[in-house]
């Protein structure tokens, strides 16, 4: 009999979420005893693909083989039984239990639970692969990296032969990353097969044997790591330039509207999310913000809107009515309401679209009121004006909904986004910030939104557009600011730069992350 060559083989896998195709006809192989990097921009379908291996999603089409046998994985338990273990970005651990208790949790052993024996076995696994961890410590006393170690040991204890790590290094310091890579190599030496999802190129080159690249839900190809370079991988990841023919008039009456200087923020865990970010957003211009997911886009927009605590830096706002030579108004320290009253408007479309800015159970009118509910005297709501605004947006933007009271949660994604962006534009902002405004939208709707943003630009609004698609950024924006690891790695003229230059800055060849 031929020896088993592929730990996993996925054939013609397609997965749709409603009208959005997350994975299209993907063929992927994981050889026995190798480390495969799965590389792709945000939204390229990496996690979706892996979730089908771990039993969280079920593919619409295609066949999965494990050890050359066709299998059906319809639950996480099926995946475990096949020896597939996935370490998710969000840990699934019980805080008040010790590491050992978490590792044995949910396992059905014969007879009664023997924690001592289990602990001994876990210790053996740790020694074998070089994990450093105190098994009797409670989860809530652990650092992020230690929790991750517990998750990895957990899947090994359950006998996983195939490990999938979903962006394991996103939460780690460089030293911790090195440790992780060491144990990954130890596991590989022991015959385990590993898939690591990441978009940090230097890590890909450092740890993996082979790289598979996804782009916009499609499988682009694979390449042996020894034959790859950061440049060749970047090219595969971003693809060739596609002409979109987005209408981009020349900016007129350009003047500074928002001047950000030395902005630095820390998250709740004390991790630096933005480091010394400085830029100017001009009236009459679209400033694009490019970057790999989690490079600080969200924090930047929230910091400007007053929703994220700022530790250092200044944000000066120049009022359109203020005239020449005005000193500008400091926004740092103001509350979100006050900042909004200045005319700084934000339309942030998060992954789940509704997480911020919209109330899912309410209709369009209710969501318009989110901006105006406070207006008017007395204790009663003014429903008339929001109702008018909702009707206006409904007609202008062709929102598909049975009525203005139909819950936005039940609208399709594109229509939800039209409501969100339409409302922000209807506020007549001086600064309009949008993030992922076309995420998951079809082509026509996307163009509607591009045109809306361009109209705003021509009206003299300073538009900030955080985007994922480089082609769009290059054709829609006037300037592109590239964020990498919370730092500005470059500000480019969108008319003269190319995809390669932006891609290079996004993955920042010079070095990564903010080392403390």
């Amino acid at each position: 009999m031929e020896p088993v060559r592929n730990a996993i083989k996925m054939e013609h896998i397609t997965k749709r979420f409603g009208s959005v195709v997350a994975n299209h006809d993907i063929n992927l192989e994981l050889h026995k005893g190798e480390i495969l990097s799965l590389l792709g921009e945000n939204g390229s379908g990496k996690t979706t693909l892996m979730n089908m291996l771990s039993g969280i999603y079920y593919s619409d089409e295609g066949q999965i083989y494990v050890n050359d046998q066709p299998v059906t994985i319809s639950s996480p338990k099926d995946a475990f039984d096949l020896g597939i273990g996935m370490i998710h970005q969000h840990f699934k651990l019980v805080d008040v239990f010790t590491a050992t208790e978490n590792i044995v949790l949910g396992l059905k052993d014969e007879g009664r639970l023997d924690l001592k024996k289990a602990r001994h076995k876990i210790q053996e696994i740790c020694d074998k692969y070089g994990f450093e961890i105190d098994l009797d410590r409670k989860i809530y006393e652990m650092s992020v990296s230690q929790k991750q170690t517990v998750e990895i040991v957990k899947v090994l204890y359950r006998g996983a032969e195939i490990l999938i790590l979903d962006e394991p290094t996103a939460v780690l310091t460089p030293q911790e990353t090195d440790k992780l890579f060491t144990v990954m190599r130890n596991m590989k030496a022991d015959g385990k097969s590993l898939i690591i999802i990441t978009h940090k190129l230097h890590e890909v080159l450092e740890v993996s044997d082979r790289v598979a690249v996804l782009r916009k839900g499609e499988y682009i190809g694979d390449v042996l790591t020894k034959d790859a370079s950061q440049q060749s991988l970047t090219d595969m990841m971003v693809g060739h330039a596609v002409s979109l023919n987005i209408n981009r008039p020349e900016p007129v009456n350009v003047a500074p509207r928002l001047v950000v200087e030395g902005l630095t923020v820390y998250d709740e865990l004390g991790v630096k999310r933005l480091s010394d970010v400085s830029f100017t957003a001009n009236a009459g211009e679209i400033l694009g913000i490019a970057g790999i997911a989690g490079s600080g886009q969200r924090e930047l927009l929230e910091a400007i809107s007053g929703l994220y605590p700022i530790s250092e830096g200044s944000i000066r706002f120049y009022d359109p009515q203020g005239g020449e030579g005005q000193p500008g108004k400091e926004l740092v320290g103001l509350d979100p309401m006050a900042i909004r009253r200045c005319g700084v408007s934000m339309a942030f479309v998060p992954e789940d679209r509704l997480g911020m800015g919209l109330v899912g159970s309410m209709g369009m009118t209710g969501n318009m009121m989110l901006r105006s509910w406070r207006k008017g005297k007395g204790i009663f709501l003014n429903r008339k004006d929001p109702e008018e605004m909702a009707n206006h947006i409904w007609k202008e933007l062709d929102v598909v909904t049975p009525s203005t009271s139909f819950p936005v949660r039940r609208m399709s994604g594109g229509n939800v986004q039209k409501v969100l962006v339409g409302r922000e534009i209807a506020q007549d902002p001086a600064v309009l910030m949008t993030a992922y405004a076309v995420r998951g939208l079809d082509i026509n709707t996307s163009y509607t939104i591009y045109n809306l943003l361009t109209e705003e630009k021509m009206k003299g609004v300073a538009v900030i557009y955080v985007g994922e698609d480089l082609d769009v950024l290059l054709e829609l924006c006037d300037r592109i600011l590239v964020l990498c690891g919370g730092q500005v790695s470059g500000i480019l003229d969108a008319r003269t730069t190319d995809k390669r230059e932006v891609g290079t800055l996004m993955t920042n060849m010079g070095g990564d992350s903010i080392d403390e």
Binding site: L354, M356, M362, W373, L381
Partner: protein, 362 residues
């Protein structure tokens, strides 16, 4: 290759109203059929006669109908009280204690002020004291939630026990006669602090709750406060993004919730029972949660859900006496019916499709 059937559960995009009501109707029918089978198997009685006895128990005589409507009013009132909190996704299961503490405050005024103030002043004091006491009982968990993010479910639950123990303590302090362990009818001869009767002894609380229903409906749907509550319940992030001061809304809403509970305590003690026992609320603080949820927080729909529950429990005690059945049997029937009604929501929210997969099972 063995064929396997796979059930896939997915969320429905939308369902026209008549279909969702058809599902609910089928659920109630199915519940009645199951109840009938259980009845025949366990008691050998004819289910039809049991059902008609249930109806007779609730609406058989004029007096019974009045009592049923009054019971409905009390349950509805407490349900209205918990609704703003639940709409805000604040799990207030402390209505039991908030009503009881309102009742205790009422009792205190009735007993301690009876010979010091004229009747009308005693009643004014009772109203103020009961509302303040309930509001305070609602304020505490909300304050701790807003400031230190304590768990409101545990907090409000614990506050119930404190209220019960306080009531137990004061019942002994005020017991009549000494050693009886209970208060008895307060001011039986003077009727000081008894809320005035309108027409008959039932109407006052019914009218108060009817008014409350209308006010609460308007408050939740047409006031700025109601809007804030809805947004905070949906997402605190969105709320603060819209400039809503989340902490303030939480505290304000719970104070309101507690205050209405306190008012219901006033009605129970001052208007209906004229005495205080530790079981005066009789679990309605918890039943109210179910009433509110089943009506999806709509005050008008709550009239019907509370009617259903009151109807069942009134009828239940009737069949236990008429057929000599254990009272628990009535609870079994109520349980079956609720199980079906609540379970039907699953089929309204989700649809189930059957898939045949040819793949070999691992």
């Amino acid at each position: 290759m063995n064929k396997t059937l796979k059930f896939h559960i997915s969320k429905r995009a939308s369902l026209p109203w008549y279909k969702s009501w058809a599902i609910r109707g089928i659920a109630i029918l199915a519940a009645l059929v199951v109840c009938a089978i259980v009845t025949m198997l366990m008691t050998g009685e004819n289910p039809i006669s049991i059902y008609s006895t249930i109806f007779y128990g609730a609406f058989g005589t004029t007096r019974r109908s009045w009592v049923t409507i009054q019971e409905l009013a009390v349950l509805l009132g407490i349900s209205l009280a918990v609704t703003p909190a639940f709409k805000m996704r604040f799990w207030n299961i402390g209505a039991e204690g908030q009503v009881l503490i309102g009742g205790l405050a009422t009792t205190a005024c009735m007993i301690c002020l009876a010979d010091k103030l004229p009747n009308s002043m005693v009643i004014v004091c009772m109203i103020i004291a009961s509302i303040l006491a309930g509001a305070f009982w609602g304020f505490l968990p909300a304050f701790f939630k807003a400031k230190w993010n304590t768990n409101e479910t545990l907090f409000t639950l614990m506050m119930n026990y404190i209220a019960t123990q306080l009531a137990a303590y004061f019942i002994i302090v005020w017991e009549v006669p000494k050693g009886a362990g209970k208060i008895g009818i307060i001011n039986q001869s003077t009727e000081i602090g008894w809320l005035p009767q309108l027409g008959n002894q039932y109407l006052l609380s019914i009218l108060v709750v009817a008014l409350l229903t209308g006010v609460m409906y308007i408050y939740l749907n047409y006031s700025k406060h109601g809007y804030e509550i809805a947004v905070v319940g949906e997402s605190q992030r969105t709320a603060s993004y819209a400039g809503i001061k989340v902490e303030r809304v939480i505290i304000r809403t719970m104070v309101l919730s507690g205050a209405v509970c306190g008012l219901m305590g006033l009605l129970l003690v001052g208007g209906i029972n004229h005495t205080l026992t530790t079981t005066v609320v009789d679990g309605r603080g918890f039943t109210a949660v179910m009433v509110s949820w089943m009506a999806k927080f709509n005050p008008i729909a709550m009239i019907f859900t509370s009617l259903l529950l009151v109807f069942l429990s009134r009828g239940a005690s009737e069949i236990s006496s008429v057929f000599g059945l254990n009272h628990s049997f009535a609870d079994i029937l109520t349980g079956i019916i609720l199980f079906f009604i609540i379970g039907s929501e699953f089929f309204i929210t989700y649809e189930i499709s059957v898939q045949r997969s040819a793949g070999k099972e691992a």
